[in-house]
């Protein structure tokens, strides 16, 4: 089934080709050999679009990272590919100046991805180097990392928008939506949850109006749901237990490729393994709960052995056929199987050996379900005493704060104090950020004035400080109840053949973000769930084409239009592989096709790391 569903998704390869063509145009704009300097954050994404061979074919001789301002000897033509960020531009400016004063005569081209910003040009101008450079833009808004995942590769989106209220990158997000529609047709129905979601949609509409006419492009996508990350802060904080999620948590997946070290490969060199649906074996286990993965893989190993064994009974002709056709794929499967089994072993070793994951999961589940709060708080304290990784304890602390709508001033301050003693005073900055983001807050004491924050327009801030007279239940608990996020206790979840999205968190919790997607798709909007959504954000909205409104829920078998069953879910501020797994599950359940679009892919650690000084 998986294959058939994905088979009908729009083919994302064309997006890669567009970027590649654009890059070719830029490189060919200058003749002769050239050296290429790339923004470190763009290294991997560029590599996915245009490999070294491609770059060499277009005259690139050497490739460097933009991370210092030292002059470098090289060709006459110099290209910088960078995000329009002040820090990179400053490196570039200094390097150019140093090279000029060292008497190197060179042509400089700065390629801004995905567009040039005034602020950068201003810096070039202020430094008097504006005249030396040609500025190009590479419209690289979307990177397909699998058949159903697109990212914008903006790792800093969450902190820059939600923490610093810097709306610069909304334009990039909106451009991504525009690029998507230029390729796959205008998306008739949209639903937005959150302020960034709404702004992005509006901006994309404006950009579409100004851009080329796309009415002629065949429509392949029926709906887009935009979700701000701060609508659901809980899901990324929970430990991941799906296979792909754990791989990301432990080894880190970059642009769809994982890098296994010695512990997995057993050899000295690292091994880069692409993780996507082209690897059928991985495709079968990626979304599974980790506890079942090993069994699956052993079963596959047995099948593989059988296939190999067949050769013993073959005639010469059959054998010839076998070698020509099956052997290669068997070998590939073999290789993949070996690596995934080793990876599983390593995960088990790292996560469960110490019993750490066990305790952590128990605590997380307790917090989500709202029981044994005192014990859980104690556990967190102990983690701090034991000098566990700060990111890890911060995750638990934030979770604690989130499920309780903020902590009592005593708990709040004591946890902070313990953290500072363990990890250092500089985490005052971290806590300040966490407060601004509504991740770790104290329940406002009516007599106390709240901390004044700059640009206090974000919705998270309202949650953080706005609820003074709380009922006994926290809003998270109300949401859990209204939206059935926490399965009734005592109901066993079959992790092998799950029937509910909550399996991605061992049956303890259904990711709020994914539940919202489910409800919005089912109800074609927010009818009936406005009250719940209002608990999260006041900024939500929709624009639904009238004709589709009467057609019942999308993806129902009565719906004939395949585009109507294709739904883009756009996460502004990051998505985890667990949420992706849940949405894939949802797609299978309802016969929808989900295309995940996100500013970036996150894990709990990467998510929290954005708030560190």
């Amino acid at each position: 089934m998986a294959a058939s569903v994905e088979g009908k998704l729009p083919n994302l390869d064309s997006l890669k080709k567009l970027v590649r063509d654009d890059l070719r145009r830029i490189l060919e704009s200058k003749h002769g050999a050239k050296d290429l300097f790339i923004d470190p954050t763009l290294m991997k994404p560029i590599d996915r679009i245009a490999n070294v061979k491609f770059l060499q074919d277009h005259g690139v001789e050497k490739i460097y990272k933009i991370d210092s301002s030292k002059p470098v000897q090289g060709n006459r033509e110099r290209f910088y590919i960078t995000r329009p960020k002040v820090i990179s531009i400053k490196y570039i400016v200094e390097q150019m100046k140093a090279e000029k004063s060292a008497g190197q005569d060179r042509h400089y081209t700065i390629v801004m991805v995905p567009r040039s910003l005034y602020i950068c040009e201003k810096i070039l101008e202020q430094n008097g180097v504006f005249g030396w450079v040609t500025i190009e833009t590479l419209s690289f808004n979307l990177l397909p990392i699998d058949k159903d995942i697109l990212t914008i590769e903006l790792d800093f989106f969450y902190s820059s928008y939600f923490l610093h209220h810097d709306e610069t990158w909304l334009h990039t997000a909106a451009s991504a939506l525009v690029a998507l529609q230029q390729e796959f047709g205008k998306i008739p129905n949209f639903y937005a949850i959150g302020q960034a979601a709404k702004s992005t949609w509006q901006l994309s509409q404006t950009l579409l109006d100004c851009g080329p006419d796309i009415t002629g492009v065949p429509k392949q996508i029926g709906h887009v749901i935009l979700i701000d990350r701060d609508v659901d802060l809980v899901s990324p904080l929970c430990s991941q237990v799906t296979y792909e999620g754990l791989l990301d948590d432990i080894f880190g997946i970059q642009c769809g490729v994982v890098q296994f070290d010695k512990s997995v490969t057993g050899a000295d060199n690292v091994m880069k393994v692409p993780l996507n649906s082209d690897d059928w074996l991985f495709q079968e286990v990626r979304n599974k709960h980790f506890s079942t993965v090993f069994k699956e893989l052993s079963a596959k190993a047995k099948d593989l052995q059988k296939s190999y064994d067949k050769k013993d009974e073959m005639s010469v002709a059959q054998m010839k056929d076998f070698v020509a056709k099956d052997l290669k794929s068997l070998k590939a499967t073999h290789k993949s199987l070996t690596i995934h089994i080793s990876a599983c072993e390593e995960i088990t070793k790292r996560k469960t050996a110490s019993g750490e994951l066990e305790d952590q999961l128990a605590t997380e589940h307790g917090l989500l379900e709202g029981h044994s709060m005192t014990e859980n708080t104690k556990y967190i304290e102990e983690c701090i005493y034991q000098q566990q990784r700060p990111v890890n304890t911060l995750r638990l602390m934030c979770l604690l704060s989130l499920v309780k709508d903020g902590l009592s001033p005593e708990t709040y301050e004591s946890l902070k104090r313990h953290s500072l003693q363990s990890h250092g005073y500089q985490h005052v900055l971290t806590f300040h950020n966490l407060l601004k983001l509504g991740l770790f807050t104290k329940r406002a004491n009516p007599s106390q004035t709240t901390v004044k924050l700059p640009g206090g327009s974000s919705s998270s801030l309202k949650i953080a400080t706005g609820k003074l007279n709380l009922p006994r239940k926290s809003s998270f608990q109300i949401l859990s109840k209204n939206l059935h996020l926490i399965p009734k206790s005592g109901v066993e979840i079959d992790l092998r053949n799950p029937t509910d999205m909550s399996y991605v968190f061992s049956g303890a919790y259904t990711p709020l973000s994914c539940r919202l997607v489910e409800l919005v798709i089912e109800k074609r909007g927010f009818t009936g769930i406005e009250d719940s959504v209002k608990l999260i954000t006041n900024s939500f909205g929709q624009s639904v084409k009238a004709q589709s409104a009467r057609g019942g829920k999308p993806g129902g078998s009565q719906s004939r239009d395949p585009a109507d069953q294709t739904v883009v879910v756009f996460f502004l501020g990051g998505v985890t592989y667990s949420e992706i797994a849940a949405l894939r599950f949802l797609g299978h359940k309802y016969g929808n096709r989900f295309l995940i679009l996100s500013t970036n892919i996150i894990t709990g650690d990467r998510f929290i790391s954005q708030t560190l000084p």
Binding site: H165, D166, S354, Y385, Q387, R417, S422, V428, P454
Partner: protein, 831 residues
């Protein structure tokens, strides 16, 4: 109609026909003989200026009048530049060129508005000019002037900014040349000058080339007039002996020499197309001479003015505007008496058919195999006709012929119908562009539309575009129209804005910001703002709003656009414009979303300004954060302490007691660390916990204890810390002593076991096993690798979860244990 060819005049092997284009509207007041006349080619407009000798008073201002080809006055203006207006002429793009006697050249549009001004150089200014030529060059048009010193200066292209260049001097030219003209040679413009009987070609590179001429008359006294054909290939010369010489431009080939019997200098000598020359003396008939010494004489009333065209010449008089048109080849083939061309037969067949004459059939039969050609001939001939009746009859014939061809191309017919409709429309009396099909094909439809726009015939131009489905061009017309409205309408701003909005709508593709820009140039700021409201692209609105200093609107629009890049543009502009930082910030504060952007920029570029900004906003807590960030980056202890002190003050201002206290603690910790550092313990930049950990490892329990007291470290933390630190430095005896320092450990004894296990001493770990509470025993055993033992304990506790835990930890190597646990599990379930 059969006798259409009867009106034709043969000239050698070609024919000419005279067509009446217009009866002139100016008939009441025009007397051409009193005026200098200039007309643009390709059916262009006419300008007149009274000849000096006919001026009522010599010192009165000259009046220049502009008419269309039908004599409708478009505009009059007085020449008020102070000098004498010497010559008027037209560029190919229909700009009126006026040359003053000091070399000042002004270009006007059809409505007397100045489009461009330049001069012809210092010499012209100092010495004045005595004559000039306005010529069609390869791009547009240019000017050559002759100064009173008989030197020539050229400006090749009136649209370019380049300075005029000098042409080579003609030797021994002490008096005015007997005649001269501009001529294009190999892509550059030169002048062909006659000094009596000598001819010279002078160019811009300083070359003066005497020209040999193939002429039979050896005693030419002087050449008194000269005319160059429009394509620069042929030249006509008139001699003082009354002879007309026609030949190639290099004068090496003579086509004919014709004795006119009139020795006076012609009033006008002009080419009619490229095969014949018209000679005109005031008061006499027009004489047309062909290259074989054939001639035609055209009688006319009153004075006339001749305009050369590529396929004929236009004759303008007080009452008529006529075209002497070379009969196109295809027209001749159809209408020439006795023609046996298929087109002629088809035309005849159709006529007979309409008369229900069976001869039609005979005609059709005779050209059956050439019907395709016949149809094409009729279509093309239709295009060359001026009268709709003739056009129709030819098209009817074509249409009739199409019935007999299987493979006719409908496109040609359709296309010609379109061209004819357009031509008829622009020839209309009110528009007055008497264009022939050949001329239209030469100048292109696009240029024709440009010309209509230039004449402000917006409606017609737009209709033509709609008719021909030229959407892009239509947008261009709308934009021109809108700019015209903005420039010329005297309506109140809101009304203009409404009119424009009504016509342009929201999706016409016309840029509102371009129009608004024009409004700004006209000083109509309010109108510009109203127009900008309709501009969909914020990126286009904002630069203009800033140009008219509407910064608040610009900022608002930038913010509404959701594009921070635009907001930055406004912020920076504001920053450049407003002198005082305070006023600048005040302005920014009016638009709250701009503030975070400014903060972000300051954060990266100017922390001091950022602090000021926070201060103004009363964001003390943020300032404290800034100080702490700085402190983290700072390495020097004194500076660190200073920054922390600053932060502490800010926290106090922000009434954040807790943070102030923490900061105070940090300052004190830093001081303690500084002391310790002096004692050889590296601990700066370490947390309190890490510092104490190091102290314990270094065996410095006393100081660790004192820190514990000073900073209120909880007992539990201290125990965790000490256990781990002692285990890490393998101080097992001390660990044991510590374990016994209290009756029972506040953190239990599992940490002891695990710490020993972690630092590789399982035997030592075992010492504490007994003290571990039973709930934690299994985990402890696992941590020291006693799987079997762990399984037994779990079994004894009848705890399947714990058994599973052990099971999970068994590696493949522990096969025996693995199996055993499976058995125990079964056993447990069965009991």
């Amino acid at each position: 109609m059969e006798f259409m060819s009867a009106e034709w005049n043969p000239l050698g092997d070609i024919f000419f026909r005279k067509l009446e284009l217009y009866r002139m509207t100016w008939i009441d007041h025009m007397n051409i003989s009193e005026y200098d006349v200039a007309a643009a080619i390709n059916g262009g407009p006419i300008a007149t200026m009274k000849k000096a000798m006919h001026m009522v008073r010599a010192d009165s201002k000259q009046i220049v009048s502009i008419y269309n080809a039908a004599g409708n006055r478009l505009h009059d203006f007085k020449w008020q530049q102070g000098g004498l207006l010497l010559k008027i002429g037209w560029t190919a793009s229909e700009k009126l060129v006026c040359v003053q006697d000091d070399g000042l050249v002004i270009l006007y549009n059809l409505f007397g508005q100045v489009e461009n001004t330049f001069d012809m150089g210092q010499e012209a200014m100092d010495l004045k000019i005595s004559d000039c030529r306005i010529f069609q060059s390869y791009n547009d048009s240019g000017v050559i002037v002759m100064t009173t010193a008989y030197r020539f200066w050229i400006k090749s292209d009136v649209n370019k900014r380049s300075a005029p260049r000098k042409l080579a001097d003609v030797p021994a030219l002490g008096s005015p040349p007997s005649c001269w003209a501009a001529i294009g040679v190999d892509g550059t413009i030169c002048a062909l000058v006659a000094r009596d009987d000598r001819l010279y070609l002078i160019d811009q590179m300083g070359q003066c080339t005497p020209q040999d001429i193939q002429i039979s008359d050896s005693d030419v006294i002087a050449y008194t007039d000269i005319a160059v054909s429009i394509n620069n290939k042929y030249v006509a010369l008139f001699t003082a002996t009354g002879m007309l010489w026609i030949g190639s431009a290099n004068l090496q080939v003579c086509f004919c020499e014709y004795q006119t019997q009139n020795k006076s200098r012609p009033t006008q000598l002009a080419w009619c197309g490229t095969r014949s020359v018209l000679v005109y003396w005031e008061g006499e008939d027009l004489l047309m001479v062909g290259s074989d010494r054939d001639w035609i004489s055209y009688p006319h009333e009153g004075s006339v003015f001749i305009v050369s065209e590529t396929d004929g010449a236009r004759i303008i008089s007080n009452s008529f505007h006529e075209l002497i048109h070379r009969v196109p080849e295809v027209t001749r083939e159809i209408f020439q008496i006795g023609s046996i061309q298929p087109g002629a037969y088809l035309f005849e067949a159709e006529r007979k058919f309409n008369q229900q004459n069976k001869e039609a059939n005979d005609y059709i039969d005779s050209i059956a195999h050439q019907m395709g050609l016949a149809v094409e001939q009729c279509i093309e001939a239709a295009g060359h006709e001026f009268e709709p009746a003739k056009q129709k009859s030819l098209l009817r014939a074509a249409s009739f012929g199409k019935c007999f061809v299987n493979t006719s191309e409908p496109d040609k017919f359709y296309h010609m119908c379109q061209m004819i409709r357009v031509l008829n429309a622009v020839r209309e009396f009110s528009v007055g562009i008497p264009l022939t099909l050949k001329q239209l094909n030469f100048i292109t439809m696009e240029t024709l539309i440009d010309r209509l726009v230039y004449r402000r015939q917006y409606l017609l131009a737009r209709k033509i575009c709609q008719y021909l489905k030229l959407k892009d061009v239509e947008e261009k017309i709308l934009a021109h129209w809108a700019c015209y409205k903005v420039e010329n309408s005297r309506d109140p701003d809101y009304k203009i804005a409404n009119i424009l909005q009504e016509k342009l709508g929201d999706n016409s593709g016309v840029s509102y910001s371009d129009i608004a820009n024009r409004a700004v140039e006209m000083g109509k700021t309010n109108l510009a703002i109203m127009l900008l409201d309709h501009e969909t692209k914020a990126a286009n609105q904002i630069p203009l709003l800033m140009k008219i200093e509407k910064y608040d609107t610009a900022l608002k629009k930038a913010i509404d656009s959701g594009d921070s890049n635009l907001v930055y543009q406004v912020i920076f502009k504001l920053n450049d414009t407003i002198r005082s930082v305070g006023d600048f910030l005040l302005e920014i504060r009016k638009s709250p979303p701009a503030l975070p952007l400014l903060m972000k920029y300051y954060k990266e570029e100017n922390p001091i300004l950022l602090e000021g900004l926070y201060n103004q906003e009363g964001l003390h807590n943020e300032i404290a954060q800034l100080k702490i960030s700085a402190c983290v980056d700072e390495q020097e202890i004194g500076a660190k302490k200073y920054l922390l002190g600053e932060a502490q003050k800010m926290f106090q201002s922000a009434k954040d007691e807790w943070a102030a206290k923490m900061t105070d603690d940090q300052i004190r910790l830093l001081e303690r660390q500084q002391q310790l550092e002096g004692q050889g313990l590296s601990c700066i930049n370490q947390s309190l916990h890490e510092t104490m950990h190091r102290l314990v490892m270094a065996g410095n329990m006393k100081i660790a204890e004192s820190l514990k007291k000073e900073f209120n470290v909880p007992e539990k933390r201290y125990w965790w810390l000490k256990v781990n630190a002692l285990a890490e430095c393998s101080n097992w005896p001390e660990l044991e002593i510590f374990s016994k320092s209290k009756k029972s450990s506040p953190i239990g004894y599992r940490p002891f076991v695990e710490a020993c296990a972690k630092w590789g001493n399982k035997a030592e770990a075992a010492k504490y096993l007994n003290k571990v509470v039973s709930d934690e025993k299994v985990k402890c055993l696992i941590s020291i690798g006693e799987m079997e033992h762990a399984a037994e304990v779990a079994f004894d506790r009848k705890n399947e979860d714990e058994l599973n835990l052990v099971l999970q930890q068994c590696t493949m190597a522990d096969r025996a244990v693995f199996d055993r646990i499976q058995r125990l599990k079964l056993q447990l379930r069965n009991t």
